[in-house]
């Protein structure tokens, strides 16, 4: 059985330095895996959370726990304020090539459901392209749309609509566990 050193990040370090997703070994427990390939295998720092993902991706103190990118009405450009966030995810995915992400595009409730599905797809696709430009491999990313079907905010006003014009990044670990 082969032991792989798993990159780990202490949450304190993360909080102090949120733009540095590259991990250091903080002496956290190391998970032993059997049958792993020679590629980089991820992350167990302080254990996995319920989704089976490294804490680094789910700890609220980690920038990588921020998974939502918001869009303007009828727009699908990734706004400048999200460039750092996208870069952080790109860096994580480039370093951890066994991880995959599903980008789910969403829209507000107004208009045709099928047209909104395509609009949500365009938003997800914009995030996917941003990640790809930063070096993430195509086979690590799938962009899909939920259209208006899964509103985060069920309200019917401008506040709710703004919250629902969104793309979310969901992670899946190499062992298949994760958020999708």
């Amino acid at each position: 059985m082969k032991k792989l050193l798993i990159p780990a990040l202490l949450s304190a370090l993360l909080a102090a330095c949120s733009t540095t997703p590259l991990p250091e070994d903080g002496g956290a427990p190391v998970e032993s895996r059997s049958g792993a390939s020679t590629g980089v295998t991820p992350v167990t720092a302080g254990g996995l959370d319920a989704s089976g993902l490294p804490r680094e991706l789910t700890d609220p103190k980690s920038k990588l726990s921020q998974r939502s990118i918001y869009f303007d009405l009828d727009k699908y450009e990734v706004k400048d304020e999200y460039k750092d966030l996208v870069a952080a995810h790109a860096k994580y995915l480039s370093t951890n090539k066994g991880f995959k992400v599903l980008i789910q595009g969403n829209t507000d409730e107004r208009g045709s459901r099928e047209y909104n599905l395509s609009l949500g797809q365009k938003r997800a696709e914009a995030v996917k392209r941003s990640l790809a430009l930063l070096g993430v491999k195509d086979d690590q990313i799938e962009s899909v749309s939920l259209g208006e079907e899964k509103p985060k905010n069920p309200g019917h006003d401008e506040t709710a609509w703004a919250e629902n014009r969104r793309a979310d990044i969901l992670y899946k670990a190499p062992d298949g566990r994760g958020e999708f």
């Binding site: 599903l102 789910q104 107004r110 208009g111 045709s112 459901r113 099928e114 047209y115 599905l117 395509s118 609009l119 949500g120 797809q121 365009k122 696709e125 799938e142 962009s143 899909v144 749309s145 939920l146 259209g147 079907e149 899964k150 019917h156 969901l170 999708f180």
Partner: protein, 423 residues
């Protein structure tokens, strides 16, 4: 213009226990200007069965907005009884129907009837329908279809079914009901959204988009067996299935190469072919009635508009020009008109274009119309809309005069699809 002041509520009992309560009721909110006065007398025979069948015929005819029921005075005549036509003419009837309920040789129910022209005092014909005891309403619908066709010259749609999605208590139910909202059955229950149900031309299957795999995937679902096959589960989103008129192909929307684009695929998922090549959104395909072309929505011109392309691809032609948001094209089965949703001053409304003159008429006065669906006789259009923050279905005649509303007591109802003629 006369309006039906009486509000007819038909409560519906759902067949199945254990599922979320989802009762569909129909309210008539408008009727045609020149309704045909017709009398349906009671049918002698099994009294319980007679009541079900005649009540079904009467409510079908009245709900259509094209007929006015003439009081039959509690009279009962069978289909061979001598009829005093002058008497029915005097009661104001243009037509009257009489019939009987008997047992066929194999023990099932047999409903016989005859329709008369009260003005001319002649028979317009009759028929007999054999049915099981649990299908009495179906016999009523067949009789109503017969009367409708004889008196209007168009085929009736009372024996058709509708599909729709109910969202209730966090669950999504794909339901099938008779065109009067009764007899609802749940074909699929899911914790994730179901959208865009589309009937196969033979009425045996539904194609739809289900999000049960955390992304939109297209299924074809055989209603009788419950068997489901995945028709499209490519990388990205798979959506907006539409059957070709011969039932062999589906036009679908895939984003596997980036943005949403139109493709066609055989009904078993084989033979994928790309139809459009644009840098924007192409979605909501619908075959024209002759199968030769496909209407769809595209933002290639800067705003969502309706276009038409050959069923095998080629150059697309723009169809809508008024306004900045025209979506959800639905060509009528008779090939004469195109229903769609238009945004006017922030309101999403049902509109119909006459394909010969290109004239557009807005048919509704609501704010949130979606997903139009023609009845197979092209006379009525079913839409999803919202009243008091809740999803309801509404049926509007293609001239805008007749309106019906279908609501579900315990939830939101949306994504209606009117099925084909009874086969």
């Amino acid at each position: 213009m006369s309006r039906l002041s009486r509000r007819a509520f038909l409560a519906v009992a759902l067949f199945s226990a254990g599922l979320a309560q989802a009762q569909l009721s129909i309210e008539i909110t408008g009727a045609g200007a020149n309704r045909i006065p017709v009398a349906i007398v009671d049918f002698p025979g099994d009294p319980a069965a007679s009541r079900v069948i005649t009540a079904t015929v009467r409510s079908d005819l009245e709900r259509s907005g094209l007929f006015k029921l003439v009081d039959h005075g509690g009279l009962a005549f069978d289909e061979n009884a001598p009829i005093n036509h002058a008497d029915w003419k005097a009661r104001g009837a243009d037509a009257m129907a009489a019939g009987s309920i008997g047992r066929s040789a194999d023990g099932r129910m047999e409903a016989r009837f005859r329709l008369y022209d009260s003005q001319k005092g002649v028979s317009l014909g009759g028929a007999a329908y054999v049915t099981s005891n649990t299908q009495l309403r179906a016999a009523g619908h067949r009789i109503a279809d017969y009367i409708y066709e004889k008196l209007t010259g168009e085929k009736g749609v009372f024996s058709t079914r509708i599909a729709y999605v109910v969202k209730s208590r966090g669950q999504f139910l794909l339901q099938i009901a008779d065109s009067d909202g009764q007899n609802a059955a749940t074909a699929l229950t899911s914790a994730e959204p179901i959208i865009s149900p589309a009937w196969s031309p033979d009425g045996s299957k539904l194609a739809y988009v289900s999000f049960e795999k955390k992304k939109p995937v297209i299924y074809v679902h055989s209603l009788a067996s419950g068997q489901r096959i995945i028709v499209a589960n490519f990388k990205g989103s798979n959506s907006a299935p539409a059957w070709s008129p011969d039932g062999r192909k589906l036009a679908i929307v895939l984003s596997k190469d980036g943005n949403s684009q139109l493709y066609t695929v055989n009904a078993d998922g084989s033979g994928l072919q790309r139809i459009t090549q644009s840098s924007g959104i192409d979605t909501e395909p619908r075959y024209a009635a002759d199968g030769g072309s496909i209407y769809f929505t595209s933002d290639r011109g800067g705003s969502p508009q309706i276009y038409q392309v050959g069923a095998g691809g080629g150059e697309a032609r723009r169809v809508t020009f008024e306004g900045s948001y025209n979506v959800s094209p639905r060509p009528s089965p008779d090939g004469k008109s195109l229903a769609f949703i238009t945004r006017r001053e922030g309101r999403f409304q049902l509109a119909v274009m006459d394909l010969a003159s290109r004239q557009v008429q807005v048919l509704s006065d609501s704010n949130k119309d979606e997903s139009p669906s023609f009845a197979p006789n092209s006379r009525m259009i079913l839409i999803a809309t919202e009243i008091g923050g809740r999803g309801v279905l509404s049926a509007v005649s293609s001239d805008g005069r007749i309106k019906q509303r279908l609501t579900v007591a315990a939830g939101d109802v949306r994504e209606p699809a009117w099925g084909p003629y009874y086969q």
